[in-house]
């Protein structure tokens, strides 16, 4: 065969391949195997054909001075919704695609983004941090001066306490990104505030610290000194680089395990006082109204929590079949300690077995868990569609409540701190639906 003909054949085959792949990726979702043509003996075109990227120069090494994800990953992104669009998306949230998250670190570009007056772009050269009030010596620091303090690096999640807060009265989001993605996790670098206070001297009557941002909303919160003298940090590093603007560049407060809202971004001022402040976002919002008519204020920690992340409504089991062994994976986290175990249920929380933790298990951090599962016929056990549920525990003794348990104390108007067991129904076709199990 002449060389030219060979080339044409190859080109045709490649075109054919692209057509087929496009078709196959659609049918794969409907449950047909991508590899059906193997049995026909033709061989997988992805193996049989040369590829574009294998037969030509790739990009020069200096094309991107800051690397970008593969263009094929363009759907792995933060998302927003008009339900949560307050202030023309300036007092709003964009949530993390946890259905695509790997491990226990969120890439900085996918870290959920929440602000009360828009993302501020602070000039680091004009950055000043003032620490004053009930300290022996008030100070003002530049960014460079702040970074001279001895640094620590810690892995912690940050979670908006409204994670899952739209679903007190019933499930609303058929999506794990929106049902549980008001959170993300990173390795943070900064300085313990107690280290700075060793230098400044805290007066004994101090009970509270005001943390105030420099952004358009001057976001402020009151923090008890217990936390300040335990593990509170001022952080400037996020996964090995500077904080992203959405995370408060150049400096934010990090209160490990506590409400994301308390971890004030674009931080400019810490003031110590004997009395608390009553900032807007610690009374009008971020308070949990109980059926008694009283509301919990200063509800600090995000309690023990977990969810299945695979399968999910976004990436369901429509391509698996009876008898397949698949890994069910999920995240567990607690702002009150270290995850000690996760139980998994296949009947919506009626019966549980132990799942396995995997990877690093760190305090106040995302923790991965896993369970190898044999897919039953029609995704049914005992004649019922399986309903996946996970229930985590931590080393402070906390265990996730059922919805009934949590609602019996908190009612359904609390908005924040909902950590009841989440449930995911698998349909006969392998689709996954977010459901809730309630007795009341």
């Amino acid at each position: 065969m002449a060389k030219k003909e060979l080339q044409e054949e190859k080109t045709l085959a490649r075109r054919d391949f692209f057509k087929k792949t496009a078709a196959a990726s659609v049918t794969a979702l409907a449950g047909t195997s991508l590899f059906a043509h193997e049995s026909a003996g033709a061989g997988d075109p992805a193996i049989m054909n040369h590829t574009k990227w294998g037969q030509a120069w790739g990009d020069p090494v200096d094309k991107f001075h800051y690397g970008q994800p593969s263009p094929y990953e363009h759907n792995n992104v933060r998302r927003a919704t008009s339900l949560l669009s307050s202030g023309n998306f300036r007092a709003s949230i964009a949530v993390t695609p946890i259905h695509e998250s790997e491990g226990i670190i969120t890439p900085n570009g996918l870290f959920f983004s929440r602000s009360h007056g828009g993302t501020a772009y602070v000039n680091p050269n004009e950055y000043r941090l003032m620490i004053h009030g009930l300290v022996e010596k008030p100070i003002v620091l530049t960014l460079a001066q702040l970074k001279r303090y001895p640094s620590v690096t810690r892995t912690h999640f940050i979670e908006c306490p409204a994670n899952g807060g739209q679903e007190w009265r019933g499930p609303q989001f058929n999506s794990v990104q929106f049902a549980k993605g008001f959170m993300a996790s990173a390795e943070w670098t900064g300085v313990y505030i107690k280290t700075i206070l060793e230098d400044l001297g805290l007066k004994p009557e101090a009970q509270w610290m005001l943390a105030e941002g420099s952004d358009n909303s001057k976001m402020g919160r009151t923090v008890p000194v217990d936390k300040v003298l335990d593990d509170a940090m001022l952080v400037w590093g996020q996964n090995g680089e500077a904080l992203r603007p959405e995370q408060g560049y150049p400096v934010r407060l990090l209160l490990p395990g506590w409400e994301g809202n308390l971890c004030v971004k674009w931080l400019r001022r810490l003031e110590f006082s004997q009395e608390p402040w009553y900032c807007k976002e610690e009374t009008s919002r971020y308070t949990d109204l109980k059926p008694t008519g009283k509301a919990i204020q200063h509800f600090y920690a995000n309690e023990v929590n977990s969810t299945v992340t695979s399968p999910s409504p976004e990436i369901p089991w429509t391509d698996v079949k009876e008898g397949d062994i698949v890994e069910i994976e999920g995240l567990a986290w607690s702002g009150m300690g270290t995850i000690t175990g996760v139980d998994i249920s296949f009947d919506g929380g009626k019966n549980y077995v132990e799942a396995q933790l995997k990877g690093l298990v760190l305090p106040k951090s995302w923790t991965r868990w896993s369970y190898m599962y044999k897919i039953p016929k029609n995704f049914q056990e005992n004649g019922k569609q399986i309903i996946l549920a996970s229930r985590a525990m931590d080393d402070a003794g906390y265990i996730q409540p059922t919805i009934d348990q949590e609602v019996s104390v908190m009612g359904v108007e609390a908005v924040y701190h909902r950590n009841a067991v989440e449930t995911w129904e698998v349909t006969e076709s392998g689709k996954v639906n977010h459901v809730e199990i309630r007795s009341v």
Binding site: P71, H74, R79, T81, S86, G87, N88, A91, I139, L146, P150, V152, R169, G170, F173, S175, E198, D199, G201, Q207, N216, K218, P224, V225, D226, L229, D230, G257, E271, E275, P276, W277, T283, D288, L289, P291, G293, Y300, A301, G335, M336, G337, T340, Y352, L357, V361, I387, M393, D395, A396, Y398, I399, P401, T402, V407, G411, E436, I437, S439, V440
Partner: protein, 390 residues
């Protein structure tokens, strides 16, 4: 100077509330705490959680060298009086310890002036008489005392019942919060732009639309709010929050509150909770599905396909842009083609364009907060004024 040791003693002296006897109901199983090789302390943090003190040079799994510094680091400098005055502008409420509160400035403003300001700078987002609007919070839902009674409403057993009303008048425990936030955070696209007297006037107006009284006197349409009167405001929900955080010795109470899981709807295995493994549900348990398809208007739309992104359309989509960037305010104020536009177009469209691009005191952010090109912004302005897409 180093007072930290005293604090550490206070913190670690907070112990767990007496652990509740385990009720042997149903299926109690052995709790096997795995991974408890951590250096968790027996003490409880103020939030009810674990504490990881530095033990043998480690906190939890992290190495944590605790270097005792021979002398102070002395980074930074002491702020001068002018700098402190510029930034130390927070407000704290009136209390037993501080009868004058903290940081409450001199000044005054009338309900009448407040209403005028409100109509000029606030109404486009917060609605007539603070009734709220697309995506912005309501400031009133009527009489504060009456709204306050709704806080025990709970749609737990009856989803159709009226819910609680959580607006300034019914819910906020302190009025200083309102004053402080108006001055520092409002109007939302132009914060830090109001004088103290203007903030008093707006506060007076918001008290008025919440039908509140100060020291027995109704905040009526002729009311003038002064600092002295402001100090006497008692909010209907002043005692509506737990745990108590007021007073010189508040922290022990906060610690005790969160040491008891029952206070905040949590389950703690050390306080009588049960890790049920078998037959854990009531017979009445039901599977609730998402109603009416649930919320799906995600931006960008949900997809997990791995393909190459579509080329972005360069052409301006007027209607789409309006919905995304303008409708929230303009649907209720100067809607597309609204007759009220005639009050703005007398000097021609160039003035409308210029004002819109710069932003206006009336609450319009520069280019409506969009990153449209000048040409596209003008197209949008044409649409707003005429109501027609060219």
């Amino acid at each position: 100077m180093l007072k930290l040791e005293a604090y550490k003693k206070v913190i670690v002296s907070a112990t767990v509330a007496a652990s509740v006897a385990v009720l042997a109901v149903g299926c109690v199983e052995d709790v096997k705490p795995e991974n408890t090789s951590s250096t968790k302390s027996a003490k409880v943090a103020i939030d009810g959680g674990s504490v990881y003190p530095v033990v043998n040079g480690k906190t939890g799994p992290y190495y944590a060298p605790e270097q005792k510094l021979a002398h102070h680091l002395n980074y930074g400098r002491v702020p001068n009086a002018a700098e402190l005055a510029a930034w130390d502008t927070d407000l704290q409420p009136v209390s037993e310890l501080s009868p004058e509160g903290h940081g409450i400035p001199e000044g005054q403003g009338s309900v009448e002036d407040g209403e005028e300001l409100y109509d000029a700078k606030c109404v486009m987002c917060h609605g007539d008489f603070g009734s709220g609007g697309g995506g912005y919070p309501a400031l009133s839902k009527g009489n504060a005392e009456e709204m306050h009674k709704t806080l025990t409403n709970n749609r737990w057993k009856d989803p159709e019942a009226p819910g609680p009303v959580r607006v300034f008048g019914s819910y906020w425990p302190e009025v200083t919060t309102l004053w402080w936030y108006i001055r520092d955070g409002m109007p939302h696209p132009f914060s830090d732009s109001l004088t103290d007297d203007e903030v008093y006037a707006l506060t007076a107006y918001i008290l008025n639309i919440n039908e509140m009284s100060i020291d027995g006197e109704e905040v009526d349409d002729d009311y003038v709010l002064t600092r002295e009167k402001f100090l006497k405001i008692v909010m209907p929900n002043v005692d509506g929050f737990e745990p108590n955080i007021r007073g010189a010795n508040a922290l022990p109470g906060v610690r005790a509150y969160f040491a008891n899981a029952k206070n905040f709807g949590a389950q703690n295995l050390n306080q009588g909770a049960v890790r049920c493994m078998h037959d854990c549900q009531k017979a009445t348990a039901q599977v609730k599905h998402i109603k009416f398809g649930g919320i799906k208007d995600f931006t960008p739309p949900m997809s997990t396909v791995r393909d190459l992104p579509a080329k972005k359309a360069e052409k301006l989509d007027v209607k789409k842009t309006y919905t995304a960037a303008c409708a929230m305010c303009h649907d209720s104020y100067l809607a597309p083609g609204a007759p009220e536009w005639s009050g703005y177009t007398a000097n021609g469209m160039d003035e409308v364009y210029a004002k819109g691009m710069k932003g206006t005191e009336g609450g319009m952010p520069a280019k409506g907060g969009t990153d449209l090109s000048d040409a596209d912004f003008k197209t949008m302005a044409d649409y707003l004024v005429s109501g027609k897409v060219k």
